[in-house]
Amino acid sequence: MCLAIPAQVIELVDIEHAVVDMGGVRKTISTALVDDLQIGDYVIVHVGYALNRLDPEEAAETLRLIAEFSEVANHEIPG
């Protein structure tokens, strides 16, 4: 139920709507809950609403920590 999908903003329609790209699928969503979105931002989308921005630096930092703790020889950070 609380599943939400990361999507990239590709077009701002009006102050409360944007077109996002979800792995190749384009969809118009409501951006009423997140202010000041820019084209290129990543958001978490749930039932047609952006709930929050995704922070690319935090994502990279989490992946860095995971790779650090993961006991894999010669690992590379994916993505």
Partner: protein, 383 residues
Amino acid sequence: MKYLDEFRDGRLAQGLAARIRREIEPERRYALMEFCGGHTHAICRHGIEDLLPAEVRLIHGPGCPVCVLPSGRLQAAINLVERERVMLCSYGDLLRVPGTQGDTLLKAKARGADVRMVYSINDALEIARAHPDRHVVFFAIGFETTTPPTAVVLRQARREKLGNFSVYCNHVLTPPALRALLATDLSSSPQEAAPRGVGGVDGFIGPAHVSTVIGTRAYEFVATEYRRPLVIAGFEPLDVLQSILMLVRQINASEARVENEYTRAVGVDGNRKAQQWMDEVFEVRPSFEWRGLGELPNSALAIRPAFADWDTERRFAVPAIQASDHKACACGEVLRGVKRPEECKVFASACSPDHPLGSCMVSAEGACAAHYHYGRFRQAVTA
């Protein structure tokens, strides 16, 4: 997809599991509850339990809104759509949840009732605009993730003075349910007593997307009042494994802190705008029934009087129905983490996703359906 694929890397997952195996202390037991159905689904789908050492046990919690909706509230919706001839819009999972005597919204639809499945509450609003001669009811369920969109639409309906639309509000709140679980049985030390049940939970995997809205601060009481660690985690397998490692480390150090693994989407305060709008539209119900947990104080939302014209329960008589669940169904115990799905007498026999007797077998996030779909129960049988 970016932000999904890189958090599903199998090699890194194996490596995290190896790290967890190395860091556990053999004399300890780690009983960890994932509150949220999204985590339950991810754990079963990605086979995370198979990667973990025997000392780490995952307990599925009650964070599946379809599963905790009492059958009386569902039967009230079936009665409403048939008696008042409204158009009822609902998220898909609810259509197959049994009400009283096994009746469902899908069966009501087959009898001729106007029941429609929607992806978003916005679709319900569109349907109401397109059918001014019909009354459209949106069957709202969900935790804090799903509630803000309902608030947005109720504000919109009031702005438009849309007279043929209302919301049957069943939104529930995460922190009071966590509190109820923690208050159940913590008189005994988690390490020595109660191997089953919440009294024996050593730490919590905290919800992902509920937390994007309410923030990490909302969970502080778990650490300060109940001395349990809680780590907020994303829904991908690397997120879940990383959060388990963080919990193992806290438990080894006898610490109880709220930590955040899902920093890419969750902050301390959450989404303030969403919180503000929820507060404008909803008020806390003094008490609400949860399937499996009973009446929990301050655990659900009702629509404020200022939005009374769009509140289904004020527009129509929606009498409270006392309904008991199927006698053989152990959903209540499964939702409290007292029983595993395969310990229910009817699991995978009389109760299956095609013919669910209980709500946990309906939603893909229900513990029983997740176990059934991904075959985890077969290993338990042959082991």
